[in-house]
């Protein structure tokens, strides 16, 4: 029980963010209106994805320095879960964009960047499936993972800031802090972010343990 407190915390925070996110009053801004509630669901998906990919890189580095298969399992399962969160982020973003920007896929650098980074991790999965020997697979895929991660960071965080983007915080647009996130929304947004990150870690932890058991027997 003492070990599992964070799982309970994840469930509580998510239930809270669903209820509060759909019921608590939000500021009525032009164009956004009620769709601003999607902030509680769309943005945490990306935070979780980035967090899981970061965990995966850390595990890949650990694998290269220790050659312990456990780290490789953790690396691949965090990527698998991260890809799911990436697709969820794209999905919720497309619904939101359809209502506010008028099209599900406006030509926006951040959208394209996230699509490319999803491709990058799909390539990681393809690379893994094309190597038969398990130790070699773990090593080569860890190398690709570490090699690709800094490029993904540039793609998601630096390039969009250089060009015009519809997203807040890019191309001269103000960030969240300045206009559309009032203090009430923060009370829901931050718990939602923590809740989704914990859920992502939880899912990858379960998948990691399944893989460990499959490996043993």
């Amino acid at each position: 029980m003492t070990k599992n407190w964070w799982k309970i915390l994840a469930a509580v925070l998510l239930i809270y963010s669903f209820i509060a996110g759909l019921l608590v009053a939000v500021p009525r801004l032009p164009i956004l209106h009620e769709t601003i509630r999607n902030l509680y669901f769309h943005v945490p998906m990306w935070f979780t994805m980035i967090f899981l990919y970061l965990l995966s890189v850390i595990n890949s580095i650990k694998y290269l320095s220790s050659a312990d298969e456990k780290h490789d399992f953790m690396a691949v399962e965090t990527v698998n879960t991260g890809i799911v969160f990436g697709f969820l982020g794209l999905g919720t973003g497309m619904i939101w964009a359809n209502f506010t920007w008028g099209a599900p896929w406006p030509n926006d650098p951040k959208l394209n960047g996230s699509a490319i980074s999803t491709l990058m991790y799909l390539a990681y999965i393809v690379l893994r499936s094309s190597i038969d020997e398990s130790q070699k697979r773990a090593k080569i895929s860890a190398i690709y993972n570490i090699f690709a991660f800094p490029i993904m960071v540039v793609l998601l965080f630096i390039l969009p800031r250089m060009t015009d983007s519809l997203h807040p915080g890019n191309g001269g647009n103000p960030g969240f802090n300045s206009y559309d996130l009032d203090s009430n929304m923060r009370l829901v947004f931050y718990p939602a972010v923590i809740g989704w990150i914990l859920l992502g870690v939880w899912i990858s932890n379960i998948r990691y343990r399944i893989r460990l058991l499959q490996h043993k027997f």
Partner: protein, 220 residues
């Protein structure tokens, strides 16, 4: 042997090997020239503005993947083993990257020249456009050398090379296209400084991570 000495002799080895069997070099030059000619015939010569620029980079992208896939994939495994007993892994990857830079530079210069002959020249600031091509050659070489090393370890390296390298090269390609478009339109040179700085720092990042990661890659 010191690292610099090793790198020098490895580059000399690559150059001699290339010169003795010129089929690889000739093949890739012919590949670029015929691709440009196919594009010329397909477009019937009439392309303007952004398309002119983007088409050049797409041709160069595919040509460089084809040129650089051989840097690890097409070498016999026995030669690798022999090299690894002689030189440090850093020297090997560094010499490959430098050699591939030279190869890409030659290739892209030929491509640019032929492209401008066939499709009429639309570049206003030729010096800066050439700088973009130079930076592009270095970027392609540094990224594709490491990816080629990774792909060589897997089954079916040829198609894996493209799958692995596209997501990594796209950010660089976007910057290159933007930079070269600025040069093409003859904009003020200070407009492109941001792109140059980011491209250079990305290249430093890629080469540094190659140097760190390659020792793990070659040890089988």
């Amino acid at each position: 042997m010191s690292l610099i000495h090793q790198v020098k002799s490895l580059i000399a080895k690559e150059l001699i090997l290339e010169w003795r069997s010129r089929y690889a070099l000739n093949g890739i030059v012919l590949y670029v020239v015929s691709t440009i000619f196919v594009c010329y015939l397909s477009f019937k010569g009439g392309i303007q503005g952004p398309t002119w620029n983007v088409l050049f980079w797409i041709i160069l992208l595919f040509a460089s993947i084809n040129a650089l896939v051989k840097s690890f994939v097409q070498e016999p495994a026995g030669r690798h083993l022999y090299l690894y007993t002689l030189a440090s892994p850093q020297a090997i990857i560094l010499s490959k990257i430098i050699y591939n830079c030279l190869l890409m530079l030659l290739l892209s210069t030929i491509a640019l020249f032929f492209y401008q002959v066939v499709f009429s020249n639309q570049v206003q600031d030729l010096l800066f456009y050439f700088l973009a091509v130079l930076l592009g050659s270095i970027s392609f070489a540094s990224v594709f050398t490491m990816i080629s090393g990774i792909a060589a370890k897997a089954n079916n390296p040829g198609s894996l090379m493209a799958v692995l390298s596209f997501p990594v090269i796209i950010p660089l390609l976007i910057l290159l296209i933007k930079f070269s478009k600025n040069a093409m339109d003859g904009l003020d040179r200070s407009v492109s400084y941001d792109e140059i700085v980011i491209l250079l720092s990305l290249n430093v990042l890629v080469i540094a991570s190659s140097l760190v990661l390659f020792p793990y890659l070659w040890r089988d």
